[in-house]
């Protein structure tokens, strides 16, 4: 998975909004996703394309309709690679502190 493409895709409020919409209800069509946005159909398509290229959205055809699904795998990988690594030690330290404070309280 290409980290750059995922970060770039996430670095835009419209695209994050689209992901949130899919998180609420997966499998939406373009028409449905277009609904909540003040943007042309072409604009929404372009954003969806960036999300798809980054692997964050997977499309499936059902007859004439194209459905958009959130693919949670790249976000999970990004989390494991970039978040866990930096938060683990600090969180452990805070938990230790909490335990210590609670003991002495």
């Amino acid at each position: 998975m290409d980290d750059d493409a995922v970060f770039k895709a996430l670095a835009d409020p419209t695209r994050r909004h689209l992901l949130d919409r899919l998180f609420e209800q997966d499998g939406r069509t373009l028409g449905d996703l277009e609904g909540g946005l003040e943007m042309t159909r072409f604009g929404v398509m372009k954003h969806l394309r960036v999300l798809e290229d980054a692997g964050l959205v997977v499309t499936r055809r059902a007859g004439r309709e194209k459905h958009h699904f959130l693919n949670p795998v790249p976000i999970r990988e990004l989390h494991d690679r970039w978040i866990d690594k930096y938060t683990e030690r600090r969180v452990t330290a805070l938990l230790d502190l909490k335990a210590e404070l609670e003991e002495t309280a």
């Binding site: 209800q25 499998g27 699904f69 795998v73």
Partner: protein
């Protein structure tokens, strides 16, 4: 890992990942019980996949049936579709059979795009909620096993963590 609350579990779940291996290798990892045992929470899938038969998985000692479902399509090494009932949990065992589709697409450069679609979950909300985090771990571990020869946690050696 946090569990997904019931109300956000989707009735069609799609997972897609790239694996640095041929579709044949990935197919083997999905269908060979020797390999599933190492990444699929220790589950041993019974026999070779044949349309019309059941795709059943058991604990390593065969004492407990974990999952079953009718085999619907078998097209090695590209497509495998089977039913899914989660029998390892009393509540999910009562729900309707859902469906799991595995799609393997060879990519230029010798790797594989694996797409897993778990759908027909409308009548099985507890199963939907249960598998949402489960697939992520299973698929990550499958990828790690195929690419490195070792899964994230080797269930066939007993859980060490």
């Amino acid at each position: 890992m946090t569990t997904t609350p019931l109300e956000t579990a989707q009735t069609t779940q799609v997972y897609q990942l790239f694996i640095k291996a041929s579709p044949e290798r990935v197919w083997e990892a999905i269908t060979s019980s020797e390999l599933t045992q190492r990444y699929f929470h220790g589950a041993v899938f019974e026999g070779a996949p044949v349309v019309g038969r059941q795709w059943r998985s058991w604990t390593a000692d065969r004492s407990q049936l974990l999952t079953d479902g009718e085999i619907l399509e078998v097209e090695p090494p590209r497509r495998f579709v089977h039913g899914w009932r989660a029998l390892y949990d009393e509540e999910t065992a009562l729900e309707a059979e859902s469906r799991v589709t595995w799609e393997l697409e060879p990519q230029e450069g010798g790797y594989t795009k694996l797409t897993v679609i778990h759908d027909r979950l409308e009548a099985s909300p507890k199963t939907a909620a249960g598998v949402a985090g489960g697939w992520m771990f299973i698929l990550s571990s499958l990828k790690t096993l195929v690419e490195t020869g070792e899964p994230i946690i080797d269930f066939s050696k007993g859980e060490s963590e």
